[in-house]
């Protein structure tokens, strides 16, 4: 309870500063409010709320079992939420599910495709499901296959394709009806590094023209393509914002490192702690770590110069999203203390 609450409060502050909240004219494409989903006694998604605006590319990040897939399935209209509601393009995912499904391209992690059909037959089927006319199918199918780079494989049996190619065909299938919103569950899982780069590039391109929601448990994937990240942990929203916002607001780990040669001069700790913007100072390994939100190297340098301390190192260690993610995932955060119920 403690951690999410603290983090979220911190985030609320951050979001009010975020550029996203300044562009209020953009319509919200995806709204989730207080979504919860239980599987028997297991709470997979717990009171999850977020909003995604048109044209945003958002990464869903979280360790395995954090509730990413469940949330995406709720949005895609496959699973109903136990409580709470969600809407896509103004249609409720539960009561107006068919309309929602017309607006989304959803690719599940397993990349479900009919193995016994050829690639173009699979797309033909998808086109019919979405009510595309014969002419539209004839135009769109080569177009999307070209887009994902498998046009030359269109007569191949889906079952004979490699994992990477299957993933591309799956993406083509999701793209075929030209959906407003793309929901991709772990689109890079099981791919080799080269294929990952390819898919990542593709998602980046797609993000330029439509709203994309991508999930992954691999941080660099998300960092590379998604300007905004939603971090889930144990079904709850752990963090939500752009990379920089997250690092800034949750960056307890940012600090200025000052290392001196020789013994630590008496009273130096107090002098450093008195600096503006320093949250706290700890002495370790013959130096100091000054926790602060911004780069205070200049101020620290001035103190060092004034006092004449012999310096070995003065550096600014910024928290990375990776550290942040690990903290959240491993619940290392010091704010994480189970509040008594």
């Amino acid at each position: 309870m403690g951690t999410t609450f603290a983090l979220r409060t911190a985030l609320d502050g951050a979001r009010s500063l975020s550029p996203a909240s300044l562009t209020v004219t953009l319509p919200r494409v995806i709204t989730a409010s207080h979504l919860s989903r239980r599987f028997g006694p297991v709470v997979a998604v717990d009171d999850l709320s977020f909003e995604i605006e048109k044209g945003e590319v958002v990464g869903f990040l979280g360790p395995n079992g954090a509730g990413k897939t469940t949330t995406l399935r709720i949005l895609a209209g496959f699973l109903p939420a136990t409580s709470g509601s969600a809407s896509i393009a103004g249609h409720d995912v539960l009561t107006d599910s068919l309309e929602v499904r017309r607006h989304i391209g959803y690719l599940a992690e397993t990349v479900p495709l009919y193995a016994e059909h050829r690639v173009d037959e699979m797309l033909e089927f998808q086109g019919r499901l979405h009510g595309l006319s014969r002419a539209e199918r004839k135009r769109r199918i080569p177009e999307v296959l070209e887009r994902v780079g498998v046009l030359d494989r269109r007569r191949q049996l889906v079952g004979h394709l490699s994992r990477g190619l299957r993933q591309r065909v799956g993406l083509a299938t999701a793209l075929l009806p030209d959906p407003e919103v793309l929901i991709l569950d772990e689109p890079t899982s099981g791919l080799d590094p080269l294929q990952r780069i390819g898919v990542r590039k593709l998602i980046e391109d797609l993000g330029a023209e439509r709203t994309v929601l991508v999930s992954s448990h691999i941080l660099p994937e998300i960092e590379a393509v998604c300007p905004r990240v939603i971090i889930l942990n144990q079904g709850r929203l752990a963090a939500d914002g752009t990379h920089d916002e997250l690092v800034r607001t949750l960056g307890h780990a940012s600090f200025v490192r000052l290392e001196l040669t020789g013994a630590v001069p008496p009273g130096s700790l107090a002098k450093l702690a008195a600096l503006d913007g320093v949250d706290d100072v700890t002495e370790n390994a013959g130096g100091f770590d000054l926790r602060c939100d911004s780069d205070l190297r200049d101020a620290v340098g001035a103190v060092v110069q004034r006092e004449g301390w012999p310096v070995r190192e003065l550096s600014w260690k910024q928290a990375t999203l990776e550290e942040l993610f690990a903290r959240i995932a491993l619940q290392l955060d010091e704010t994480h203390t189970e509040a008594p119920a």
């Binding site: 599987f39 009919y114 059909h117 499901l129």
Partner: protein, 245 residues
């Protein structure tokens, strides 16, 4: 309903690109052709008896009826629910019912194709100058479609409540067999009221007394249609229930 048509086309294509359909069709047609010829020889060329035999009188007819629909339908929902294709279908803009109906129609079409062999035998005999009694042949075909429909819907329902195709096939075979043998089973107990009620769902004698003599009894037709609709309804509920699990 356009969605159901799309699913239907895919399922039918799916059946025929996989070897199972061809294997079943080959075995069953060979068996039925052989039986028909044997019957013709045995009866000394009694065309009516032979067409009746392969069209519903013989026990082989019912054996095929019990085995074929479960084998056709066993994978349709159970396997797709396991490999994620059901998730794909259920996140497409088609209703759950359309998915079930499309699959059902595909299985039924296959059965219709299979039973059309009896029409071909009758047609061949007509061509050879000794036409059979057509009303029972046509009635028998319609009856075969209705019974197949009932058993295919049972098969689909079984496929929707288990995730193992073999289990689904087994379950629907047992279910179909029970329905066929119900009148014999109640004969084992001495409760006249029960026997009377059960007589109303006596599939085989309905079939023999109505379709096989070329008479269309509305009551019997409605009985089969109602049973089929019931199991299709149950199957689509079961598919919907998968979303909640």
């Amino acid at each position: 309903m356009k969605g159901a048509l799309t699913i239907y086309r895919r399922e039918l294509a799916g059946l025929f690109v996989a070897p199972l359909a061809w294997i079943l069709l080959t075995i069953a047609l060979t068996l039925s052709g052989w039986l028909f010829v044997t019957m013709l020889k045995e009866t000394g060329g009694d065309i009516v008896a032979a067409t009746r035999f392969v069209g519903g009188q013989g026990i082989t007819y019912w054996a095929v009826m019990i085995f074929l629909p479960p084998l056709l339908t066993m994978r349709m929902i159970s396997e797709e629910s396991k490999n994620g294709l059901l998730e794909f279908l259920l996140t497409s803009p088609v209703s759950d019912t359309a998915v079930v109906v499309g699959k059902f129609l595909a299985a039924l079409s296959f059965m219709g194709l299979f039973w059309s062999s009896n029409l071909i035998y009758a047609g061949a005999l007509t061509g050879l100058g000794s036409p059979p009694d057509w009303p029972p042949v046509l009635g028998g075909y319609l009856g075969a479609l209705l019974v197949s429909g009932l058993f295919c819907s049972i098969g689909l329902f079984a496929s929707s409540v288990t995730s193992t195709p073999i289990l689904a096939a087994f379950g629907s075979m047992v279910g179909s067999l029970l329905i066929l043998l119900l009148p014999n089973l109640v004969g084992l107990v001495d409760w006249p009221w029960l026997t009377e009620e059960i007589a109303a769902v006596d599939v085989m004698s309905h079939f023999h007394r109505s379709f096989l003599v070329g008479v269309l009894d509305t009551k019997v037709v409605v009985f089969f249609l109602a049973g089929t609709l019931l199991f299709l309804f149950l199957a689509s509920r079961a598919v919907e229930a998968k979303r909640w699990r």
